[in-house]
């Protein structure tokens, strides 16, 4: 394996995230390759340097400031809901408002029309009733016609 490939493994080796078998191979190579050993040493120093940087902490009262922001967010949402009625007048241009209003009217009208239109079930019942009545009339008419014919034959 070339040094280029060994060097790629040094980061994982530094983190102790290699198998025991791979660790043995890496350590064996580091003992025999000065360039790779130097690079590993530099990685180690970089690691210690970064870890030596003091941990930064927030100013005291972090939770209190957070609570305040939470309260403000809730208030803002409430204000938005209440102010919607007025807010939309400011946020949309005149053409947009007209378009929205027309769309709303059309939507309501179409919905109302659909709601009031007889359903297919209702239509079928109505048709059935008409057909039934017509058939009843036809039956009685045919009966009236047939009576004299029977009598005439005889």
């Amino acid at each position: 394996m070339s040094c280029k490939k060994w060097k790629k493994k040094l980061s994982s080796y530094l983190d102790n995230e290699v198998s025991s078998r791979e660790r043995s191979k890496i350590e064996k190579h580091l003992k025999s390759c000065r360039a790779c050993f130097n690079q590993f040493e530099q990685l180690g120093r970089l690691h210690r340097l970064v870890r030596s940087i003091p941990s930064e902490k927030p100013r005291s009262g972090f939770y209190e400031r957070l609570s305040e922001r939470l309260s403000q967010k809730k208030t803002t949402l409430r204000e938005k809901l209440v102010g919607w009625r007025y807010g939309w007048q400011l946020s949309f241009p005149r053409v947009g408002k007209i378009a929205i209003a027309v769309s709303a009217v059309l939507l309501v009208s179409v919905s109302f029309y659909i709601w009031r239109s007889p359903t297919s079930y209702e239509v079928n019942i109505k048709v059935f009733e008409e057909e039934y009545l017509r058939s009843q009339q036809m039956n009685s008419f045919v009966g009236e016609l047939a009576l004299p014919v029977f009598f005439e034959i005889e």
Binding site: L46, R48, L49, R51, K57, Y63, R65
Partner: protein, 195 residues
């Protein structure tokens, strides 16, 4: 009584507001440290850290316990930082404001020195070196920087990083290797002690 993260989440879901406060106090320092490591500005770190917990408050009910709570929290933290940086992509961000730290010049606290020929303290006391390191870390891409910061600051394992970033172990290895190699080349003179 010390509750686990998962217990606090459950209690919060049952309506115990105090549990949310306990979660915040438990993680505020760590979240702040990560955010500061990524954005490098104290005011912005404060603002974004607050934003992280605002989102925790808003989305905590979505946490189903499929991962550890801190994995979910850190993922949210990284996303908040990356979103903020994307919005400010024309404005170069800063990494650690080492020059702002009041610790330098005062008692630096305990620093482990395993390599006596190399003293991180001496390196960091040199403002020019500190700025160079800062600049080098800042030059990393956001993804490499986030992975590097979480590994170095929070000491998350590769397994935890794969879950957080939702990628393979090989990807995490590659990112850390690339990040370290880029940093090593940029600050090599300081690592050799020749500057």
């Amino acid at each position: 009584m010390q509750y686990s993260d998962e217990e606090l989440v459950e209690r919060y879901g049952a309506g115990d507001g105090e549990s949310f406060r306990m979660l915040v106090e438990r993680y505020q320092d760590r979240v702040y440290h990560i955010v500061y490591g990524i954005v490098g500005n104290k005011d912005e770190a404060e603002d974004l850290s607050q934003e992280v917990f605002l989102r925790v408050y808003r989305f905590l009910h979505r946490f189903k316990g499929k991962s550890r709570f801190y994995t979910w929290l850190y993922r949210l933290t990284v996303n908040v930082c990356l979103s903020a940086r994307r919005k400010r992509k024309n404005e170069p961000g800063k990494i650690f404001s080492l020059a702002d730290s009041s610790k330098y010049g005062d008692d630096p606290g305990e620093i482990e020195l395993t390599d006596e020929s190399f003293s991180p303290l001496k390196v960091l006391q040199n403002r020019e070196m500190a700025e160079t390191i800062k600049s080098a870390i800042n030059s990393l891409s956001e993804v490499l920087k986030s992975t590097f910061v979480l590994r170095e600051f929070e000491e998350l394992s590769y397994e935890e990083l794969t879950r957080l970033f939702r990628c393979s172990r090989g990807t995490i290895k590659s990112r850390l290797s690339r990040a370290r190699e880029q940093l090593r080349r940029k600050i090599e003179p300081y690592l050799n002690g020749t500057v």
